[in-house]
């Protein structure tokens, strides 16, 4: 468990950096599911915490 909490520390960089490569939807679950239904695509979720 401790390992995973530590692993989460790798997530603190800005969202803007990630957006350069992948089109992230930030903190909008309803929007992501609506997109997935419309495009018939699976949703990849990264659940993280800023610590």
């Amino acid at each position: 468990m401790k390992r995973l909490l530590i692993a989460s520390l790798l997530l603190i960089a800005s969202a803007a950096q990630a957006k350069e490569v992948l089109p992230w939807i930030e903190n909008d679950y309803a929007k992501a599911i609506a997109h997935a239904r419309a495009a018939d695509l699976p949703v990849f979720v990264e659940a993280w915490a800023p610590w």
Partner: protein, 376 residues
């Protein structure tokens, strides 16, 4: 992962294959997501089908090649034809995502038993099994399965989690466990072997750090202070080297938490203080540096500085993490001998914890703070 992994150009080819959703579990606006998909391990990677059903779950992060493999696995789970073991693995992932860890562990074991020769998902299934057993509070079986599966994942990225999580489970075992010493010895050997092979196995710096952490814990538990100290020194040197390679303050600060732990273990709080003061200057909106400084100043006996750091951290923080900052602040008051202020701080923490949305509210945490109040 956001600092180092999801920025990698090689992931661009997956952009159109998924809808990409980033969920900050501390953010109260994500209550609806957390109600549907409770998260208890950070980070957790999920793949949902368009009907919002979990078809893939992985607890943990990874290197770019590991993430590419996970995305390929996820794609296959979404679209591909499945062998029996794959179908069972999808069911196991869904159970784990619902928080049914004991049932998930059973299903992961079934998937492993059904696995065809050279099944490419064996590593991920083994890691998930060990985590599910850890989370279902079954350290005995967690350690036993980790030790049994380790030879099958030896030399791969999955060896990191199987060995180090298994070792953590083994060291958590009650002294009454009949084979505790055998499990600890076997998994300590597996963890050391994986760490020694770090140059040949695809593993992140974070993975390597977690191997050191498990080994230090095992040596400290065995009261082998000399070996624990030597390992901590190696661990600190490794982290310092990695931090020196960082190109941005964000990337460097990724190592702050690991380094804080190891410096406090080495009784060198002054090193942690210098590092965290630098991070606070570089990242003034981030609550982590002042939150971590509370422990570093406290360890150095600088209680007033610790309290000032807690003020700054509380101003910047949000979500459940704020509770930990209150508790750390209370510990500083206690160290100072100011019981009344410690009590008041815990009362504030309880009020804050009770104000969180249901999905972020932890009843065991509230109960533990109320119990703490009774002892003050």
């Amino acid at each position: 992962m956001r600092a180092y992994v999801f920025t990698d150009k090689s992931l661009e080819r997956y952009a159109g294959q998924f809808v990409w959703l980033s969920i900050d579990t501390e953010n109260a606006t994500n209550a609806a997501f957390l109600k549907a998909h409770p998260i208890s391990v950070w980070p957790t990677l999920l793949i949902l089908d368009p009907k919002d059903k979990v078809i893939f779950r992985y607890a943990g992060g990874g290197t770019v090649p590991q993430i590419r493999k996970l995305l390929d696995d996820g794609e296959r789970a979404a679209h591909g034809s499945h062998a029996k073991a794959d179908t069972t693995l999808i069911r196991a992932d869904a159970l784990a995502a619902q928080g049914k860890q004991a049932e998930a562990a059973k299903a992961f074991d079934e998937a492993i038993a059904e696995a065809p020769k050279n099944w490419p998902r064996l590593g991920r299934a083994s890691e998930s099994l060990v985590f599910a057993l850890l989370q279902s509070r079954d350290p005995q079986r967690c350690a036993e399965r980790a030790l049994a599966l380790y030879p099958r994942v030896r030399g791969t990225g999955s060896a990191v989690n199987v060995a180090s999580t298994g070792l953590s489970c083994a060291t958590d075992l009650d002294a009454k466990s009949w084979n505790r010493s055998e499990l600890v010895a076997g998994l300590e050997k597996a963890t050391s072997e994986t760490l020694a092979a770090a140059g040949r196995i695809a593993m992140s710096a974070d993975d390597r750090s977690s191997l050191y952490e498990s080994l230090v814990d095992a040596r400290a538990q065995a009261k082998d202070d000399a070996s624990a100290h030597k390992l901590r020194e190696e661990w600190a040197a490794f982290l310092e080297k990695e931090a020196a390679k960082a190109k941005t303050p964000d990337q460097r600060a990724v190592y702050d938490s690991h380094r804080l732990e190891v410096y406090l273990g080495l009784k060198q709080p002054e090193k942690a203080i210098a590092m965290l003061e630098q991070s606070e200057r570089d990242l003034p909106k981030d609550y982590n540096p002042p939150a971590r400084l509370i422990s570093a100043y406290r360890a150095a006996g600088r209680y007033d500085d610790a309290l000032a750091a807690s003020d700054r951290a509380l101003k910047l923080s949000y979500g459940p993490r704020k509770i930990g900052i209150y508790r750390n602040r209370a510990a500083v008051y206690l160290a100072k001998g100011d019981k009344a202020s410690a009590r008041k701080t815990i009362e504030e923490a309880i009020a804050y914890a009770e104000s969180l949305p249901t999905e972020q509210r932890s009843e065991p945490m509230i109960a533990s703070m109320k119990k703490q109040l009774d002892t003050m």
